[in-house]
Every structure is written in structure tokens, then in C-alpha cells.
Subunit: 199 residues, 2 copies
């Protein structure tokens, strides 16, 4: 029942936004009585904070599942970037965005959302480093990974106002190529300390 309530909250955040997500709509959507709902979550904030946590776990699972399907070899960088781009253009990001923006002007919500976002941010960063095989001891590599995650966040925000899948694909193509050149260069530089021919 708890899971049904949280799933319904996430769905409603995507469909109706934060202010349109009422506790009445959640209980209707989840098929749970008002009494039972109030027992689990006395206020909208309780419900939404639990949904944030639930969302965080779903975001982690979604990314881990997508990561396990990635190819090895030359196509890997592009595939990692696409996976991140898809994730940040999907419903889990949209629901998180609603909470994020609402939390900006709601102190109670911010207290729950900000630390969770820090954890998610750190874990997503760590996962991306591993998936790309990036060496963060090289200068600039850490910042490029962070830039990659801020890029897909920006693309995710743009996608909420309309479908721009084709634009996103072209940008991610180019980003992956640039990242590959830069990370490749750094890695080679670290291994050989000689000047390799660069493309």
C-alpha cells in the first residue's frame, strides 16, 4: 500500500506538477482510503518527502539497469552519454524537477530534497566515471564529467517543454566525440608521456 501511494505521487507529479498533486488525488489514484493514507502520511509534505526518497531509489535502479546493457569497446562512450541523456529526459527526472523547483521556495521540502540530491549527484558522478573508465587524477577530467552531467540536466529541462529528441541526439553525438578525444588524450598522455598523433 505504501509503495502504491508513492508510485501514485510520482505519477501525479509528472502529470499535474507539484501544486496539482493533492493528497485527495493521490489516494484516489492509489485506490487507498483516505484514512489509510493519513495513517502512513499525515501531511502532503510527508507524502512528498517519502516520494522523493522513493524517486531517488528508482533513479538509481533505472541507471543501474541501463548501465548493465552498455556495449564495450569503441561505442561505449556514446552509449553512456545516450543512457544519461535518456534518463534525464524521462519521467523520473521530470518528477524530480517538480520537487526540486518546489523545494526552492519551500524550506521544509528543501531540507529533505537538498541532502538527497547531493547523494544522488555524487552517486551518478561516481557511476559515470566508472562507466567511461575516466581517470579523475588527470587534470580537467573530473570537471568534464561534471559538465557532462550538467549538460544532460540542461537537456532534460529543455525536453520538458517539448520533444527535442533529434536535437538532443546530435548534441550528444558531438559531446561524446569531444569527450572521447579529450579523455582519450588524457589517458594516453598519462600512460606514455609522449606525443601521440592526435585526431
Amino acid at each position: 500500500m505504501r509503495a502504491r501511494l508513492l508510485e501514485a505521487t510520482v505519477e501525479l507529479l509528472v502529470e499535474k506538477g507539484f501544486s496539482g498533486t493533492t493528497t485527495t488525488l493521490v489516494s484516489e489514484r492509489a485506490g487507498v482510503s483516505r484514512g489509510a493514507q493519513l495513517h502512513h502520511f499525515p501531511t502532503k509534505n510527508d507524502l512528498v518527502v517519502a516520494a522523493v526518497t522513493h524517486l531517488t531509489e528508482r533513479r538509481g535502479e533505472e541507471l543501474a539497469a541501463a548501465a548493465s546493457q552498455l556495449p564495450a569497446g569503441k561505442q561505449r562512450t556514446r552509449a553512456v552519454i545516450q543512457m544519461l541523456g535518456d534518463h534525464f529526459a524521462g519521467p523520473v527526472f521530470t518528477a524530480a524537477l517538480e520537487l526540486w523547483v518546489a523545494a526552492r521556495t519551500d524550506e521544509t521540502l528543501l531540507e529533505a530534497v537538498a541532502p538527497l540530491e547531493q547523494v544522488v549527484g555524487r552517486e551518478t558522478h561516481k557511476m559515470t566515471v566508472q562507466l567511461l573508465g575516466a581517470d579523475e587524477s588527470q587534470p580537467g577530467v573530473r570537471e568534464l564529467i561534471q559538465a557532462t552531467l550538467d549538460l544532460v540536466r540542461g537537456l532534460g529541462l529543455a525536453s520538458t517543454l517539448g520533444d527535442d529528441t533529434r536535437r538532443r541526439r546530435r548534441i550528444l553525438d558531438q559531446w561524446a566525440a569531444t569527450l572521447e578525444t579529450t579523455l582519450g588524450f588524457e589517458a594516453r598522455f598519462a600512460r606514455t608521456s609522449t606525443t601521440d598523433k592526435e585526431q
Copy 2:
């Protein structure tokens, strides 16, 4: 009086978010009578749509003013990137973000916001190309400019949950360096069609 009402609306969007911006608060903040306000803007949507347009103009002016202060020479790329980063981390972006997210689940608002965002997006892109002296006829250059704008949008979104000026500065340092290398290479390649020594 109209300008005062629109400024008050933008201020309230930043302070209280979209749902916390009520017509009563706007008339109080602007020091305008309810009657006069209703004469100019009969509904909240009228007011907010006018504020979107007003915001769009302010965004354009803000960027143009910042652009006129940019240095020439080697530091220019970094300065352009910093200008964009600062802009997307400022209050005008925050107010636009509130409208953007509200418009996602409000059809009337979306009808006003989506075309404006397209115009702003195109103009910001054009300005960035000019400021960087980028040659979009070269493969990948257009996408790298778009990526730069999506990156600063993502950084702007991150900054709404807390001050991360230092993190942003490091990321923009690195991105400016990467962009400089990539655009520099493209430009040189276009001029000489020979293999120059690359750093």
C-alpha cells in the same frame, strides 16, 4: 504602472515560486490598486504571460549589456562562457524556470511560454556564435554551441538548490579550455586544410 506590476510579478516568482505568486501579492508589492491591476491584467495568467514577455526582454538586455563588456583576445572564450554561466545562475533565469516548469502542466501558459522560449533560444544561440567567433559551417560546431547553452542551463538549475559558484567556475574553466581547443582546431583546419601541430 504596467512596468511596476510586471517587475513585482518577476520578483515574486523568484521569491515565492509560481504557485505562491498571487495577484493580491503582486498588487501589494507594486503599490497598485486591485482595480487598476485588474484593468491591465484581468487574470493571473494575463499577468504572468505579460511577465514572461517582459522577462524575455530583460534576459535579452542583460545578455547584451554583459556582452558589450567582454574582453578581446585570448581570454574571450572564457569570459563568454562565464557571462552565460552567470546569467543562467541569476534571478532572471530563476523566474523563467518557475514559468517553464509551471507551463509544463498548464496548457494556456505553455502556449505563451513555448514560442517565446524558442525565440530566446535562437537569439541566445546566435549571440553566442557571434561572441565566440565560431564558424558553424564546420562540422560539430553548431552542436558544441548548443551543448554549451544546455550546459549553462543545467548549471543554472543546479544553482537554484544552493550556492555552487566554486564548482561552476571550475567546470566552466575546463569547458572553455575544451571548447577553445575544439573550435580553434576547426577554425585552423578550415583556413589551412593542413595538419597543424595540436596541443
